[in-house]
């Protein structure tokens, strides 16, 4: 088996979830290099789509990578740059955010964004018994965010028409924004039954705002993505955080393992691997708790 270089290009650790991705990528690099002595893994982070496009070009030109695992900052702008590498013979595996043209990738390890929205919608609808007022705190204006919110809305419209969505504001996957937006929702809406925060970082802020206002009408807050602190709350039976929906940053690990295996053993890799978004409740929480991960 000849020497192989595998490039891993991921967003820089600019908030909790991407912090988790960087952590898992670095951990897996160590793991893989031990597993395959002929394999070199290069992990690089990029602060935006433009820099990421530059970065994978550098990996090809200078580091001479044979395989690329990329979690794109954004889908659309990275489609062509990834396709270029594939055309030059690099084995490309895309994680989480699907390219706009599937031909640009050899394999896809998918996080399930619509799934996250759907599972969340189901949980909110069922727990409220099909009736009540819900506020939504969205992420950053992106395709991912749209996918999640659209799926959530669809569930509500089709299955729970009596649930009223009071408002949807962006909270940018950010704790401080979560706090502010929730404070204002509390001022504006005298009765809120549940909060869908779409992301656990946002949920951290939401909880503080509710605690400060001392409001008792809110039955639960549903975050998302499976931050360890939130999983812990679920496990401990927190009254407001009764569940979480996964969107695990360690999907980067799955992708790297699969890619390395396929490259080093010359076997095919499944075209598409979906990492489903699942509901975490008190019963199964232990399975999703990674105390060592930063997320």
């Amino acid at each position: 088996q000849t020497k192989q270089v595998m490039g891993v290009s991921i967003p820089s650790a600019d908030h909790g979830w991407t912090g988790g991705v960087v952590y898992w990528a670095n951990e897996t690099k160590k793991e893989l290099e031990k597993m395959y002595p002929n394999l070199t893994v290069i992990v690089k982070t990029a602060k935006d789509a433009n820099e990421q496009a530059n970065q994978i070009q550098d990996m090809y030109t200078v580091n001479k990578i044979g395989a690329l695992v990329i979690l794109p900052q954004e889908s659309a702008p990275l489609t062509r740059p990834v396709a270029n590498l594939k055309n030059k013979g690099v084995f490309t595996v895309v994680v989480d955010r699907a390219l706009t043209d599937p031909k640009a990738q050899d394999a896809y390890v998918a996080g399930d964004n619509p799934g996250l929205g759907r599972v969340s919608g189901e949980y909110v609808g069922k727990t409220l018994g099909g009736k009540g007022n819900v506020v939504v705190l969205r992420g950053i204006a992106t395709v991912i965010d749209n996918q999640r919110v659209d799926a959530f809305d669809k569930v509500m419209k089709e299955k729970y028409p009596n649930i009223k969505i009071l408002d949807r504001q962006y909270a940018n996957w950010n704790r401080d924004d979560g706090f502010k937006v929730m404070q204002d929702y509390l001022t504006r809406f005298p009765k809120i039954d549940a909060v869908w925060a779409q992301d656990d970082d946002i949920a951290v802020g939401v909880l503080k705002a509710i605690e400060q206002a001392g409001r008792k009408d809110i039955k639960f807050v549903l975050g998302g993505a499976g931050m360890k602190e939130m999983i812990k709350k679920v496990q401990d039976g927190d009254p407001l955080i009764t569940a979480d929906v996964t969107y695990p940053p360690n999907m980067i690990r799955d992708a790297m393992l699969l890619t390395a295996k396929s490259r080093m053993t010359n076997t095919a890799m499944p075209k598409t691997t979906i990492i489903p978004s699942v509901l975490v409740t008190k019963d199964n929480a232990a399975k999703f708790y990674f105390p060592k991960s930063p997320f």
């Binding site: 960087v22 929702y185 504006r188 503080k208 930063p294």
Partner: protein
Amino acid sequence: MTDPSTATKTARPPLLSRLGGLGPLLGLLALMIVATLLNSDFLTVSNLSNVLTRASFIGIIAVGATFVIISGGIDLSVGSMAALIAGSMILIMNALGGGGGGVGIIAVGMLCALAIGAGAGLLQGTFIARGRIEPFIVTLGTLGIYRAVLTYLSEGGSISLNNTLSDAYSPVYYSKILGVPLPIIVFAVVALLGGLLLNRTRYGRYVQAIGSNEQVARYAAVDVNRVKVITYMIQGICVALATLLYVPRLGSASPSTGILWELEAIAAVIIGGTALKGGSGRIWGTVVGAVLLLSIENVLNLTSIISVYLNAAVQGVVIIVVAFLQRGKRS
């Protein structure tokens, strides 16, 4: 012409230009009226107290930024400095507390935060004043450095205060004195002290002189380098103070803490009527600017008349309009 020797009679500047000086206040008033029309909850005590509490962070930082800008400088690093201070402070307190901890440890953490803020300011100020490097570049550089160090410390995740400490510390953000949230009181005190420092002390006078004409200040025996270094230290201390209030709110810091605060702080200063080119400015304007900025956000959250996609556009329009109301007169 009057007899020059009896020249002490002082007419006041014309009404119009005095009104121009009140521009930001008028802007804030107009916004509050619109807000109340849109949602009557705007004027409730609890909402106003929320808005003012939030304005405290940016406001306290902006008080420091007022000094920096009047001196003819700029500090782009404040947001990431806040993140770094928050992160380091939490790590220090957690380490000292060893899972538990009390008021003593929090006091130590606070002192460390202030020391880091002052130290960072000293560093930047020294590069700028003695190293003679453009403040824009120095603080753009440290912006990257501070945030990177925090990211390194937190391994990209968040750094959270342990629960015992978090409970012990949280009153600093959440408690009230005579019904007024503590952050608002701190903000008011900082603003008052800032106003006093700027307008009633030698240091403040020197800051203005340097911003107006550095060369003249130098010839008039002002220790320009020292005054500049102190200015960046004051900025650092203000950032640390804001952080002292920030940490107990969420009990954590992460790489996204404080992102773009520099733009908000500078915007507050300039909306408040301080000119970016330095030389003169006013603290009360900055306070109004900060409250105004945070009120816009609040109003947008309280109503749904326009698409959420356009929130940033509304903010943009409002700050341009306010700035228009108080623009400088042509010389």
